[in-house]
């Protein structure tokens, strides 16, 4: 299941449901990305009031599907769950949840990491960090691209 939504979600409940729905898978992995309350800009630390995630709805879901298809071609995955939010997100709230289920741990762990690595660099979402009296658009990180390239 792939879901793109504005609403806050409860990671614990969703993971529990996912475990129940895939009763006989032996290995599970999950990744949760949350909104921080700070950022560094030019070496200086700033407090973030909230973030705003813009996205390209028609393309976002297609891109995530492509990423999952590629993961499924690489590993035997029994099931997956991906939730990504957009809009206003407050510090401490979850932004993204990725769950994978497989027969064994390695497939579950590797596919989960693969999906978040590609999602970070290919899914059309843009983060705006809003401080008390200004904001900036987060710039993409070279590290994220390098990390993704390691999968090739």
């Amino acid at each position: 299941l792939i879901k793109i939504q504005n609403e806050k979600f409860n990671s614990g409940e969703l993971i529990d449901n996912f475990l129940e729905r895939n009763l006989y898978s032996g290995g599970f992995a999950s990744f949760i990305g949350k909104a921080r309350n700070f950022t560094y800009n030019d070496g200086q630390k700033f407090t973030i009031n909230r973030i705003e995630l813009e996205h390209y709805p028609a393309m976002a879901e297609k891109q995530i599907k492509n990423i999952v298809n590629n993961a499924q071609n690489r590993w035997e995955i029994d099931n997956f769950l991906i939730i990504h939010r957009y809009g206003i997100i407050w510090p401490g709230e979850p932004i993204v949840l990725i769950c994978t289920a497989s027969t064994h741990r390695k497939e579950a762990l590797d596919s989960c990491e693969y999906i978040i690595d590609f999602l970070k660099t290919e899914a059309p979402f843009w983060k705006k960090e809003i401080m008390s009296n200004n904001y900036h658009w987060v710039e993409s990180k070279e590290d994220d691209k390098n990390k993704k390239d390691l999968w090739k």
């Binding site: 996205h55 028609a58 993204v96 979402f125 710039e139």
Partner: protein, 86 residues
């Protein structure tokens, strides 16, 4: 050819609109030519598309394309910076 252009993130803010329906002139056949054409459409477009320090990504009909691609009857072209979700 009539195409929907979409803008996201700081490109949307600089251009000053989310989307527009545009008739691309017949002389524009590649994305490189399209970017050049966009720059001439006004100060806001020039600022958005001439920013050499910032990369622009282009998706044609929801697929990433290289700047060297030729236009093949696109319906929707999106212009945006490298993505930062997750």
């Amino acid at each position: 050819m009539e195409v929907t252009f979409l803008y996201f993130s700081w490109i949307r803010e600089t251009v000053g609109k989310k989307s527009e329906v545009i008739t691309i002139p017949a002389s524009v056949n590649t994305l490189v030519q399209l970017i050049e054409w966009q720059k001439d459409r006004g100060e806001n477009y020039r600022l958005a598309f001439e920013n050499k320090n910032k990369e622009i990504r282009i998706a044609v009909d929801h697929k990433y394309v290289k700047i060297t691609s030729t236009l093949n009857k696109p319906k929707e072209i999106a212009f945006f910076p490298p993505v930062t979700g997750g």
